[in-house]
Amino acid sequence: MTAPADVSTATGKTTAAPVKAPRMTLSEWLIRTPVVLPLLTFVLILALWEGGTRLFNVPSYVLPAPSRILEGFSAIPASRWVEHVWSTLRVALIGYIASIVISLPIAVGLAKSRLLSRALYPLLVVIQSVPIVAVAPIIIVVLGTDDLPRIVITFMISFFPLVVSMTTGLMATPPELIELSRSLRAPVWREISQIRLPYATPYIFSGLKISITLSVVGAVVAEFVAAEAGIGYFIQFSTSMFKLPQAWAGLGILLVMSLALFQVVNLAQKILFPWSLPKERR
C-alpha cells in the first residue's frame, strides 16, 4: 500500500531539487512497475505454446493449443463450471477452516507445555507421513460419499504445516516479553492473546499461505477417489472421455482458484496485519 506515498515523495524530491532526475532505463522501469513484466512473460509463453503446437502439429491429447483449451472451456455451460468450482471450493474452504480451528489449540498446547509437545509431536509426524492419497479411498469407505470424507482428506493434507508454523511462531516470542508478562502476573491467556499470538502472526500467515494451496490439492485428491462434481472430478472424467482440451481447461480453472485463494490470504495479511510483513513489502 506504499505506492501512493512513494510517488508523492518522489515528486516532492524532484520539485525541491533543481537537479534533473536521472532517466530510468526500460529494464529499470519494468522491474519497478508491478504486473507488466509477469504479464508479458505469460503472454509470450502462451504465444510460443500456440505457435509451437500449430507448427509441429502436436496432437491435442499430448498438448492442446491454448486456443483449443479455450474452445474446451466454452463448450461447457457456465452453470456447470460454477457447480464444479463451488463443489471444490466448498470442500477446500471448510477443510481449511477446520484445520485452522483445530491446529490453533494444538499449537498453543505444544508451545506452552513441553510434556504435551513430547507426547503429541511424534504422533503428528506419523499422521503427516501417511500418504494421504493412499488413505483417501479408506476414508471414503469409512465416512461415506458426501462432503465429510472429502473435508477430512483436505484437513489431513493442510493442517500439518499450520500446526508447525503456529507452534514455531508461538515460541518465537522474545523471552523478555514473556518475563515482562510474568512480572506483571498477568493471566496466561493474556500472555497468549496479547503477546504470543501477535508475535506469531508472520509465522501463522506463512503457514496459512502454504495450507490454502494444499487444501485445494486435498479437495481435488478427494474428488479423484469419489465424487460426482468438482474440478478434480471434471478433469478425471474429461480425461477418461479423451476430451483433453476440456481437462486442460479444468486445470486452468483450478490454477486460477488456487492463485485467487492465495491472494486472498496475502491481502488479508496486508490489510489486517501490515506490520507482520517484511518492511520492503508493506
Partner: protein, 259 residues
C-alpha cells in the same frame, strides 16, 4: 516502611540451575544491600550470574539458597513496585509508542483508561519522547526505542528499577547521552536502581556504589562507593582520582575475566 530499611537485600544468596549437563552454580554467597533510592551498578564477567541476580530480585526465579528481600519481605513472586528494563527494548512491534508504554495496564488489568494514557504521556515527556506517541517502534532509533522501554518500566510507578545492560546495544555516543538522560529521570523521580553493565565508565558515572562480581559462581568481590558528587557530567571522570578509581575496577575485572 521505615526510612532506613533496605530496599533490596541479598542475604547469602546462591542459585544452582539444573541443566542437561548437571547442576550449575551461577551465584554463591551473595551479600549485598541497596538502600532506598540508591543507584547501584553491578560489574562482572560474562556468565557470572548478573542477570540471574536481577531475576531473583524481580521474583521471576527463586534462589536455591539464602533470601532476597524487598522492603523487608522475602520475594516469593513478582511485585508491582518493580520495573524491569531489558538489554533490548523488546517493544511490541505492532503497537505504537503510547500503547507500548500503557501495555502493562492492558496486560495486567485488561484495559487502558484515559488517565493511564495521560500518565503515559507524562512519562514519555519526561523521557524526551513527547510527540512520538503514535509512532511505531520500527520508526524509532535504537536509543529512542530503549527510552520507550524505560518509559514502559516506569509506567506502574515502581519504587525499584532493575536494568540489565540497558544501553549495551546502543552506539557509544547514544549510550553516553542515555546515561545522563537516565540520571535526569532518576533525579526527577528517585528510585532504587540496580543497574547491570559491562562498562566501567558507565557504572562509575551513574552509580552511587559499584558492586564487582567474580567469575562463575558469581560472588561479590568488591562493593565500593563512587567518590563522586552529583550532578555529574562528561568531565566528572577526568580527574586523576577518578582515573585511579576506574583503573582499580579494571584490574579487579581483568583478574576475574582471566580466572
Amino acid at each position: 516502611m521505615s526510612i532506613d530499611q533496605d530496599a533490596i537485600r541479598f542475604s547469602d544468596v546462591g542459585m544452582t540451575f539444573l541443566t542437561d549437563h548437571g547442576p550449575l552454580t551461577a551465584l554463591s554467597g551473595v551479600d549485598v544491600a541497596l538502600k532506598r533510592h540508591e543507584f547501584v551498578a553491578v560489574l562482572g564477567p560474562s556468565g557470572c550470574g548478573k542477570s540471574t541476580l536481577l531475576r531473583l530480585t524481580s521474583g521471576l526465579m527463586k534462589a536455591t539458597q539464602g533470601t532476597v528481600s524487598v522492603f523487608g519481605h522475602p520475594v516469593s513472586e513478582p511485585r508491582d513496585d518493580i520495573g524491569i528494563v531489558f538489554q533490548q527494548a523488546t517493544l511490541l512491534p505492532w503497537a505504537n509508542v503510547l500503547d507500548n508504554v500503557t501495555f502493562p495496564a492492558k496486560h495486567k488489568r485488561g484495559r487502558v483508561s484515559a488517565s493511564d494514557r495521560d500518565h503515559a504521556r507524562q512519562i514519555l515527556a519526561t523521557c524526551g519522547l513527547a510527540g512520538f506517541e503514535s509512532r511505531l517502534p520500527s520508526e524509532l532509533s535504537g536509543g529512542m526505542q530503549q527510552r520507550v522501554g524505560i518509559a514502559r518500566a516506569l509506567f506502574l510507578n515502581p519504587d525499584i528499577l532493575l536494568m540489565d545492560e540497558p544501553f549495551s546495544a546502543l552506539d557509544a555516543l547514544t549510550r553516553d547521552a542515555m546515561g545522563f538522560e537516565l540520571l535526569r529521570i532518576w533525579q526527577a523521580s528517585p528510585k532504587t536502581v540496580l543497574f547491570i553493565t559491562h562498562s566501567i565508565p558507565e557504572a562509575v558515572i551513574l552509580a552511587d556504589r559499584v558492586v564487582v562480581m567474580s567469575g562463575r559462581p558469581g560472588r561479590v568481590i568488591a562493593d565500593m562507593e563512587v567518590p563522586l558528587g552529583r550532578p555529574r557530567d562528561e568531565s566528572s571522570l577526568r580527574s586523576p582520582e577518578m582515573q585511579d578509581y576506574m583503573a582499580h575496577l579494571r584490574s579487579l575485572l581483568i583478574r576475574e575475566e582471566v580466572a
